[in-house]
Amino acid sequence: MKRYFLRRFLYTFPTLFGVSLVLFFIFNGIGGDPAYQLAGKNASLEQIENLRQQLGTHQSLLHQYKDFLWQTVTLDWGQSWYFKENINSMLLKGLGPSLALTVPSFFFTLLLALSVALSFSYFRSEKSHSLLTWFCLSLMSVSFLTFIIVFQYLFAFKWGLFPINGWSQDFPFVLSFLLLPWFISIIVSVGPDILIYRTLFQEEINKDYVKTAQAKGLLTTQILYKHILKNSMLPILSLLLSRIPQLLLGSLLLESFFGIPGLGGIMIQALQNADFPMVKAITMMSSLVYILLNLLADLLFLLFDPRVELK
């Protein structure tokens, strides 16, 4: 088992290498040479050339790639071209609001989806299941953007239940800005989750031990909680782990509509302003987190699920 894990760990290196290659070569082509923009209004060719030298963009791609790898190793991304600020400190500042938006809605969604799926596992009627399916599929058939536009209009503007837009550093006060984005976020993600969890539970219910219990008239809440939920925990956990990187990145749309100063907004501005160091940093960091979490998920499976074959 140790050997398997070691192998698995070593395997992250080629992946990291691949990620760095893709990032570097695709993202280098984004949106224009920054020297032109930085040169300002009345630029001269000489000025632009000098800027290229300072930014290092005049150097060979190989050289730039080496620099990039070094930055990845040291996690020191330098200064943002556009914001003129240290990238790491900007990322740290943006992380808070992003997490405040995504983490609670992540857990609310989880709770809601689990409890709906679990309670429907209790009902066995075909009809109720079809209704649930239709309901979830309907939620999944409307664009995220439509939800945002309509809900912001109705709840914040028309009925004035929430502030339209904004952010605050004060803890309880900031909740008023977050409630509506949370709600929208839950509405969008709860549909597919219910369906996935229900399938998992259904599968567990169809197993022999449950059938036996059922035949004895024992399908109680206890079985539901103690066995079915417990036995489905592993796939659910790995699913959740795989979503954590998305949480870090925040939600681009929600952040922009509700004025939440998170990483999603920083990212899109970086892309739109050809702020290559920033784009590299954000992408590389989230890829790192993703790779690490995958490793963690595999380890969890290894420890708790005897069925995993050690290849």
């Binding site: 040479d33 930085l38 000098n50 240290n86 952010w167 004025g259 939440i260 050809a274």
Partner: protein
């Protein structure tokens, strides 16, 4: 679960109530509609950084809040400069007893007194190639020895102690500047945010982080900055004695802009600037009184105005409108180096005559603006409200010209790429209108959305064929608009239509030598005619800004050139309390 939800609901209701109460205080709440990238004066060529910067930092001169035509007055300078007879040497005395804002960078955390050396240091920073200052163009080639110092610094042959011939401080409060040529724009440059003064200690203490630690001499200091969200400014208690202007027009008097005359500035303790990038949320926040001023989104215009007047329901809520010109112009430019467009004037004229500027004004500016007849905007020298160019909207003429140009009904004409500078809905929709208008005579365009760097690169590389542009005055002199067509400024300079014409250059160079005078005005007018005759660029609209604000925001009167007006603003809490209930 239910219990928890209920608790949560209670908590939320509680929040709503407290927030309702908390809002009626005297903090001025303003907005910016894009993010503030940084707060470093040397890079402040964008409106958003400049706005905040010009309320924290100060320059030698600034513009009188109310006087029109736009008038310079001393800010950190003591009185007018002494200018040598050849117009090249400026001797400027600094005000005494001006202190920087307190900061740990200074001994004991106390802001020290401003000296003439600080300006020299600040302008060295502007010139330092390592800083990649976006505002460098302002002083580029203008001060004796500064460009040479810049080059030496890059080559490692100089440092910040190396003297610069054109910049000296013979006395702690005297600054002597030698120019390479007489410049009638120079004093305006000294009012721009890029030349505002910083302290060396602060820059050295914060290093790379300086853009987050603005410490100036101005009326406000930065209390808190939440990127993408809000800036909070707080009164600078070291701010010297400066008083609300007492001169203004009868109109200003009527609008109550003189009710605080002679009072010490700044008037408010606290200013909050919210960053709200989407138009709709901004408008909604304004209506709810969450910000004190706002912008009416184009699409909501007819809901708000009737016969150019604010509808009664809004007036009753205590909403007012500030209407003002700003010296700016929106344009559609041709790349004169394009083999087809550059050589075929009739083709460009066909574009011009098929362009229905009135319709654009109506659809995209809600008729709030003037159809531009040339590059020069209102408020500036040489602008003539009665002047009309010959480029009227006339589809027949356009078709005829297209035929004469060799492309009857657009036959054999390639599809031209029309470059848009951003991804805003508004911009795209205007592109769709242009596409439809030109399509009617047979000119086909394809819309291309760019990010700003992509757009900028295409322009500076001369890759763009046909593109939208807007220019607003960096300083209130028509020269700032006419230089857009000067041959020495071709891309990557600001002459992005790459218009090159010897005769025009001669006129421009001649005007540069002249002080403001009827003779110069005449030259300016001649140059406008010249441009309209050659059509390297089509001029669309000079905007009129209609800025709604709540009547509790007193003295609100944005300046057309610079945004250092925070110091004059005050919230009238009595009115605010009264009006709140009606929102």
């Amino acid at each position: 679960m239910i219990q928890k939800l209920f608790l949560f609901f209670l908590l939320f209701m509680n929040l709503c109530c407290t927030s309702q109460k908390a809002k009626v205080d005297d903090t001025v709440v303003l907005f910016l509609d894009a993010n503030i990238p940084h707060l470093d004066p040397i890079h402040s060529t964008n409106k958003y950084s400049s706005t905040v910067i010009s309320n924290i930092f100060e320059g030698l001169y600034h513009y009188h809040y109310l006087k029109r035509p736009i008038t310079l007055e001393p800010s950190l300078a003591e009185g007018e400069p002494q200018i040598s007879p050849d117009g090249k040497t400026y001797t400027i005395q600094l005000k005494k007893g001006v202190f920087f804002q307190d900061d740990p960078a200074f001994p004991n955390g106390k802001g020290r007194e401003l000296k003439a050396e600080d300006f020299i240091y600040s302008w060295r920073r502007l010139a330092d190639p390592m800083n990649k200052a976006m505002g460098w163009w302002v002083l580029d080639g203008l001060i004796v020895g500064l460009n040479e110092w810049r080059n030496d610094l890059r080559a490692g042959k100089a440092n910040y102690q190396t003297p610069i011939k054109g910049l000296s401080a013979p006395h702690s409060h005297t600054l002597v500047i030698q120019l390479t040529r007489p410049s009638f724009q120079f004093l305006h440059f000294l009012a721009m945010p890029v030349t505002m003064v910083v302290a060396q200690e602060v820059v050295e203490k914060y290093g790379q982080e300086i853009a987050n630690h603005p410490i100036g001499t101005g009326p406000y200091r930065l209390e808190h900055w939440d990127r993408n969200s809000e800036v909070r400014l707080i009164k600078n208690k070291n701010f010297r004695e400066v008083f609300y202007p007492s001169e203004g027009s009868a109109e200003d008097e009527k609008r109550g802009l003189l009710s605080h005359k002679g009072q010490r500035l700044p008037l408010s303790e606290k200013i909050t600037v919210k960053v709200i990038t989407e138009r709709q949320p901004l408008w909604l926040s304004f209506l709810k009184g969450q910000v004190d001023h706002g912008v009416v989104p184009t699409d909501n215009f007819d809901q708000v105005f009737e016969n150019n007047q604010l509808k009664k329901e809004f007036v009753d809520k205590g909403i007012r409108v500030l209407e003002q010109y700003r010296p700016d112009v929106t344009m559609i430019a041709f790349n004169m180096e394009h083999p087809l467009l550059g050589k075929n004037k009739k083709l460009r004229l066909a574009f011009a005559h098929a362009l229905n500027s009135d319709l654009i004004l109506e659809k995209f500016y809600n008729r709030r603006g003037i159809v531009a007849q040339g590059p020069l905007p209102p408020l500036l020298d040489g602008y003539d409200p009665d002047y009309k160019n010959n480029l009227d909207f006339n589809l027949e003429k356009a078709r005829q010209l297209l035929k004469e140009a060799g492309y009857p009904d657009g036959k054999d004409l390639p599809v031209f790429d029309f470059e848009l500078s951003n991804n805003a809905t508004w911009s795209r929709q205007m592109g769709e209108l242009l596409k439809d208008l030109w399509g009617q005579v047979g000119i086909q365009i394809r819309l291309v959305i760019n990010t700003w760097p992509q757009f900028d690169q295409k322009l500076k590389n001369k890759q763009a064929t046909l593109f939208e542009m807007a220019w607003s005055a960096d300083y209130p002199d028509s020269e700032n608009f006419l230089q857009l067509f000067y041959s020495k400024n071709v891309s990557p300079g600001s002459n992005n239509s790459n218009f090159i014409n010897r005769d025009y250059d001669q006129l421009y160079e001649k005007a540069l030598q002249l002080p403001p005078s009827p003779e110069r005005t005449l030259l300016y007018k001649k140059m406008v005619d010249f441009i309209n005759n050659e059509v390297p660029t089509l001029f669309l609209v000079h905007r009129i800004y209609r800025l709604p604000y709540h009547s509790w925001l007193e003295n609100y009167n944005e300046h057309p050139i610079i945004y250092d007006f925070y110091r004059y603003l005050k919230v009238n809490t009595q009115i605010k309390e009264k009006n709140w209930s009606q929102l």
